[in-house]
């Protein structure tokens, strides 16, 4: 709440939105408030990125180009290191793939179904960063309309590009011995993790995630994220199957597999105040409802 709408010079133009839709302005304002918790924090992070980029010898406007076009925070930090050592394009493409392959998992829960229109969806997927994912799947924006989601993503994008550009311009005047700005990324994920864990209200989730990441760090440090995400997904699935089995076991006569009993039970297990996710289920056919775990 105490977060001021920082960098008003950026978000200001969209506010007086097209006259025919007074709703658009309120959607934009709502999105700005949704982004209020984390969005402005991208500016110092972007500044850190811009400084790192110019200190490595690239022209300042590459910071703007990286931030606007590649738009993948942590990978952009890596990309600076790759291009300054003239890494082959194949290496760059492979690194982009490995660092960003985690986004595949986001498609399971990112609310793209609320975004209408081909161009809007194209932008929404392009701008589906970790931060955009965190903001749209938790907090007030969890039930936001498609338009509001787009505004939110636009603001997050703008914060990042503005920060990177400012940082790159500042880079020339900040002496080289000032280091450690890249901690802004760590701080960002610290905050996002604390908020997400608090919203989830489920202790085993962060524990499984932490164990998955630590195991991945020990076993295959070069592929930490990919291995961790896979282990975590497997861990969650195992937990889901075990708890579902425990529940069906407690119910008499479910072995016959009538399906009705176990169906309601499973619903209760996951319905911890996340009503918004019922939408895709209603929209899609109900044929997949039968993939319930069978004991």
């Amino acid at each position: 709440m105490g977060t001021p709408p920082a960098a008003v010079d950026g978000p200001a133009p969209p506010a007086p939105a097209p006259p025919p839709a007074p709703r658009a302005a309120s959607e934009a304002w709502g999105a700005l408030k949704d982004s209020g918790a984390v969005g402005p924090a991208l500016i110092p992070l972007g500044i850190a990125f811009g400084v790192v980029l110019t200190h490595s010898g690239l022209d300042w406007w590459w910071a703007t180009a990286f931030a606007a076009l590649v738009y993948a925070g942590s990978f952009e930090f890596l990309l600076v290191g790759l291009v300054t050592t003239l890494a082959p394009l194949a290496t760059i493409g492979l690194t982009a793939f490995l660092v960003n392959v985690r986004h595949v998992f986001y498609s399971l829960s990112f609310p793209l179904h609320r975004v209408r229109g081909r161009a809007a969806r194209a932008y929404s997927t392009f701008a589906m960063t970790d931060e955009a994912y965190a903001l749209t799947t938790s907090g007030a924006a969890r039930t936001a309309s498609g338009r509001r989601i787009l505004w939110l993503q636009g603001f997050v994008h703008l914060y990042w590009v503005a920060g990177a550009t400012i940082g790159a311009l500042l880079g020339a005047v900040i002496p080289d011995r000032v280091t450690g700005l890249d901690f802004a990324l760590t701080a960002l994920f610290t905050v996002l993790a604390l908020d997400a864990v608090r919203a989830d209200r489920d202790l085993p989730t962060p524990v499984i995630a932490l164990l998955s990441a630590l195991v991945a760090r020990l076993v295959l440090p070069g592929r930490l994220l990919l291995v961790a995400f896979a282990l975590f997904t497997a861990g969650l699935l195992a937990r889901y199957l075990l708890t579902a089995r425990a529940r069906t076991g407690a119910e008499p006569g479910t072995g016959s597999g009538t399906g009705t009993g176990s169906g309601t039970e499973n619903g209760s297990g996951t319905g911890s105040g996340n009503g918004s996710e019922d939408e895709p289920r209603a929209r899609n056919k109900t044929g997949d409802e039968k993939d319930l775990p069978r004991a």
């Binding site: 498609s107 901690f183 994920f189």
Partner: protein
Amino acid sequence: MPETPDTPYLLAAVALSAAVTWGLRALPFAVLTPLRASRTVHYLSTHMPAGVMVMLLVYCLRDLPLADPPRLLAPLSALAVTVGLHLWRRNALLSILAGTAVHVALASTVFAP
């Protein structure tokens, strides 16, 4: 660095990175969207955000110099400040700015490489 990257190379690097990243964000929707009706995937998606952020945090901390305790002080102090402030004030911007400031101050002065 003896050589500096030229513009065509940088443009190609940006274009390639953008294409790969966007592809990874957009294409799975075509394949996985039908799965969203399933209860299992619904369960996964409820708990995924919290887990994902925890793992991204560990990823950021992957290069902590565990073998060199003095150099651990800067990142660990900054982390403690970030967590403490965030639990206390719940203001993302404040937590991130303060944590980063502590890290820059320590890493650039007392624990300068």
